[in-house]
C-alpha cells in the first residue's frame, strides 16, 4: 500500500471568534482528484492555506508524501497552488511565469526555457512563451497558472476555486479541461469549491465541509445518492426538504407529518424514533408527475397538486407545484422526453415518489449542523 500524498491528522485552527477547522483528519490517495466542497465560511480556504503553509495550524499535523510539514516554510513544501484569481505575474511574460519556480530552484536558463516550452505545449499553449499575460484569454491564463505549478512536478496541486471568476460557458469548458489535465499528468489535485457541480463532475472523491468539519467523504455518486447527513442532502444537488415529526417508524420506513398535516413516507437514515423532529429529502428527479392518478406506479404514494410555476431549463426543467391540502411547495423534474412540456400554471397534477428513495434524518439541534 502506498503512502497517501496528503494526510491530515487532527488539524485544528481557531480564530478569535470562531473555529475555522475543527479536529480534521483525512487522507488523499496518490493521483486522485479530491475536492473539498462547502459553503463560504466553512473553513475550506483556511484548510487549503494551512496545507500550502500560509496559515499556521493551532494543532495537528499535515503530511505530504509521508513527510510532516510542521516547521516547513511554504516555499519549501512539495505543494503548488493555483490561486483564486490565478495571481499570474503581470510584470513577466508567459514563459517567465512558467519558469519562475524553476529559476528559484537554480535550473539553468537553457533548461528552464526547454521545460517551460514543453510544459506550455502540454497544456495546449505552444507558442505563447513570449506573450504577455494580459494578451491571453481567461481560459489560457488558467492553463498558464496550472502549467506554472505543474512544471515543478509537485506532489500535490492545490486549486482554490480557480473557475469562480470565469463566465458560465468557459467554466463548463474548463471543468472538462481540468479533468483531462489531471488525468494526463496524474498529479494529485486538491480542489476547493462552493460549486457542487464542479465538485461532482471533477472529483474522484469529495469531502463536504461544514463548520470546520467534514460531513461526509465519498465518491460523487455516494454523496448524491447516499448523503450521510441532512446538510449533505441539502447542499449537494437539488432536493425537496420536508420538515416535520415522525409519526411512526416501521423498520426502515418513517412516516412523517408536516406542521400543515401533509404525510409522507421516507427511508430512515440513522436513529429515528416516533415523535422525533425529522427532515426528509426527495430529489426532484425521484418524484414522478402524471395528469391522472392511476398512472403512478405501485410503490409510490400519490399526492394531488397544482402547478405553481414551470421552470424550463432544457434538460434540468422542473415544475414547482403545491400539494393540494397542505400547500407544501414541491419541485418535480419534468420528463426529458418532452412529455408534459405543455403544462400550464394552475393545472391539476398528481405526483408521487418511491419512499425507499426518499431519505429521512433526525433533525439536529441546530439546522444545517447535522453530524453522522
Amino acid at each position: 500500500m502506498s503512502v497517501p500524498d496528503l494526510s491530515v491528522e487532527d488539524l485544528d485552527k481557531r480564530f478569535a471568534d470562531h473555529v475555522a477547522v475543527d479536529q480534521l483528519s483525512f487522507a488523499v490517495e496518490r493521483g486522485s482528484f479530491f475536492s473539498i466542497l462547502g459553503p463560504s465560511g466553512c473553513g475550506k480556504t483556511t484548510l487549503l492555506r494551512m496545507i500550502a503553509g500560509f496559515t499556521v495550524p493551532d494543532g495537528g499535523d499535515i503530511r505530504i508524501g509521508g513527510r510532516s510539514m510542521r516547521d516547513v516554510a511554504p516555499n519549501r513544501r512539495p505543494v503548488n497552488m493555483v490561486f483564486q484569481h490565478l495571481a499570474l505575474f503581470p510584470m513577466m511574460s508567459v514563459g517567465e511565469n512558467v519558469s519562475f519556480g524553476l529559476a528559484r530552484r537554480g535550473v539553468k536558463k537553457a533548461e528552464r526555457q526547454r521545460r517551460a516550452t514543453a510544459m506550455l505545449e502540454r497544456v495546449g499553449l505552444a507558442g505563447a512563451l513570449h506573450k504577455r499575460v494580459d494578451e491571453l484569454s481567461g481560459g489560457q491564463r488558467q492553463r498558464v497558472a496550472i502549467a506554472r505549478s505543474l512544471v515543478l512536478e509537485p506532489t500535490l496541486l492545490l486549486l482554490d476555486e480557480p473557475l469562480g471568476a470565469l463566465d458560465l460557458k468557459l467554466r463548463e469548458h474548463m471543468k472538462i479541461e481540468l479533468k483531462q489535465l489531471q488525468a494526463a499528468f496524474g498529479t494529485t489535485f486538491v480542489y476547493i469549491t462552493h460549486d457542487q457541480s464542479e465538485a461532482l463532475v471533477l472529483s474522484d472523491h469529495v469531502a463536504v465541509m461544514n463548520r470546520g468539519r467534514f460531513e461526509q467523504i465519498g465518491s460523487p455518486q455516494q454523496l448524491y445518492y447516499e448523503p450521510a447527513s441532512a446538510f449533505v442532502a441539502s447542499f449537494v444537488g437539488a432536493n425537496n426538504r420536508i420538515q416535520g415529526r415522525a409519526v411512526s417508524v416501521d423498520a426502515d420506513l418513517v412516516e412523517l407529518a408536516t406542521a400543515q398535516g401533509w404525510t409522507i413516507r421516507a427511508r430512515r437514515h440513522g436513529a429515528v424514533a416516533a415523535g422525533d423532529a425529522v427532515a426528509a429529502f426527495v430529489r426532484p428527479e425521484v418524484a414522478s408527475l402524471e395528469l391522472e392518478a392511476g398512472r403512478l406506479g405501485e410503490p409510490m404514494a400519490r399526492y394531488a397538486g397544482e402547478v405553481q410555476s414551470v421552470l424550463f431549463d432544457g434538460a434540468n426543467s422542473a415544475v414547482l407545484l403545491v400539494e393540494q391540502q397542505s400547500r407544501f411547495e414541491f419541485r418535480v423534474a419534468l420528463p426529458q422526453t418532452g412529455r408534459l412540456s405543455d403544462l400550464k400554471v394552475g393545472a391539476r397534477v398528481y405526483f408521487g415518489f418511491d419512499p425507499q428513495r426518499a431519505i429521512c434524518y433526525a433533525a439536529a439541534a441546530a439546522p444545517g449542523d447535522a453530524h453522522v
Partner: protein, 294 residues
C-alpha cells in the same frame, strides 16, 4: 451638426478655458516669463556700466573656474546619494504602511511620517543643530557613554548634510511608494513564495518591478528637491557644504552678478533634467507613465 449641438460644444470649450486660465497664467507669469528673462540674462555680458553685449562668457567662466564645476559635480553626486539613501530608508517604512500595518495603525504611521512637515524646514534644520553641534545633545551623550573622550563636532560634515536631506525628503519618497505598494496584490507575493521564491527573489522579481513607477516618481521628486535645496545644506554643512544653490545665491545677492547667477541657474536646470532623463532611461520607463501610474 445642429445649432444647439454647436452651442453646447462652444460652452464646454469656454468652461474648459475658464478653468484652465489660472493654471496657465501661473505657468506663464511665474515660470515661463522669468525663465526667458533669465535665459536672456545668462547669454549677455556687461562691457561697461549699463552696456551689455551678447556673449557666452558666463558659461565659459563656469568651466574655466574649477571651484564652480567641482561644486556642481559634488552637488549632483551628493543629491544622487541622498536620493538613494532616502529610497533605502523609505522603502521599509512604505512597506509597513502599505502591507504590514492594519487600517488604523497604517493611517497612524502615515501621520507620523507627516508630522515633521508641520514644522518649517528652518526650524527642523535648527533642531538638527541643537542635536549635533559640539555642545549639543548627541556629542554630550557620546562622552557620557564613554565612546568619545571629548565632545566631537558632528555638524559641518557631508554625512550631516546627507542625514538632513534624507530626513527632509522622506515623506516625498514614502507617499508614491505607499500608493504603488498598496496596489500590489498580496496573492502575487504568496504565489511567488508558493513557487519556491525566497524573500530576496520576491523583492527583486515581483515587488520592485511592480513598484517601479512609484520608485521612479519618488526618486525624481526627491532628487529635484535635494538638488535645489538651499537651507538644509547651508545650515547643516556650514561653510563646508559647497552646495550649488549657494553659488547661485552668492552671484545674485552678494556679488550682484545676475548674469553669472542666471547661467548657474540654467546649468542646474540642465543637470536635473539630464539626471531625470538618465534615471528614466536606466529604469526603462517613460515620464508620462510614471506620473500617471504613481
Amino acid at each position: 451638426m445642429s445649432e444647439s449641438g454647436a452651442r453646447v460644444l462652444w460652452q464646454r470649450r469656454l468652461l474648459l478655458a475658464v478653468l484652465l486660465t489660472p493654471a496657465l497664467l501661473w505657468l506663464l507669469v511665474l515660470i515661463i516669463l522669468p525663465h526667458i528673462d533669465l535665459a536672456l540674462l545668462s547669454f549677455r555680458e556687461r562691457i561697461a556700466p549699463r552696456v551689455y553685449a551678447p556673449s557666452l562668457t558666463q558659461y565659459r567662466t563656469f568651466f574655466a573656474e574649477p571651484l564652480y564645476w567641482r561644486v556642481f559635480v559634488r552637488t549632483a553626486v551628493l543629491s544622487a546619494l541622498a536620493t538613494a539613501l532616502t529610497l533605502l530608508v523609505a522603502f521599509p517604512v512604505a512597506w509597513i504602511i502599505a502591507k504590514v500595518a492594519r487600517d488604523r495603525a497604517s493611517s497612524l504611521l502615515f501621520v507620523v511620517c507627516l508630522i515633521p512637515f508641520w514644522v518649517s524646514e528652518t526650524v527642523r534644520a535648527l533642531g538638527w543643530l541643537i542635536l549635533l553641534r559640539e555642545s549639543g545633545v548627541l556629542p554630550a551623550l557620546l562622552v557620557r557613554l564613554g565612546i568619545t573622550a571629548v565632545p566631537v563636532e558632528l555638524l559641518y560634515h557631508d554625512a550631516t548634510i546627507l542625514v538632513g536631506l534624507v530626513y527632509t525628503s522622506l515623506l516625498f519618497m514614502v507617499v508614491p511608494l505607499v500608493s504603488s505598494l498598496q496596489s500590489l496584490d498580496n496573492s502575487l507575493i504568496e504565489a511567488a513564495y508558493n513557487l519556491g521564491g525566497n524573500g530576496w527573489a520576491i523583492l527583486r522579481r515581483i515587488i520592485i518591478p511592480h513598484a517601479a513607477p512609484g520608485i521612479t516618481a519618488g526618486c525624481i521628486v526627491v532628487f529635484m528637491l535635494t538638488l535645489g535645496n538651499y537651507l538644509t545644506p547651508n545650515l547643516l554643512g556650514g561653510k563646508n557644504s559647497q552646495w550649488f544653490t549657494e553659488l547661485i545665491y552668492t552671484q545674485f545677492i552678494v556679488r550682484f552678478n545676475w548674469e553669472q547667477g542666471a547661467a548657474f541657474g540654467f546649468l542646474l536646470l540642465a543637470l536635473s533634467t539630464g539626471m531625470v532623463a538618465l534615471g528614466l532611461r536606466l529604469s526603462g520607463q517613460r515620464f508620462v507613465d510614471v506620473m500617471r501610474r504613481s
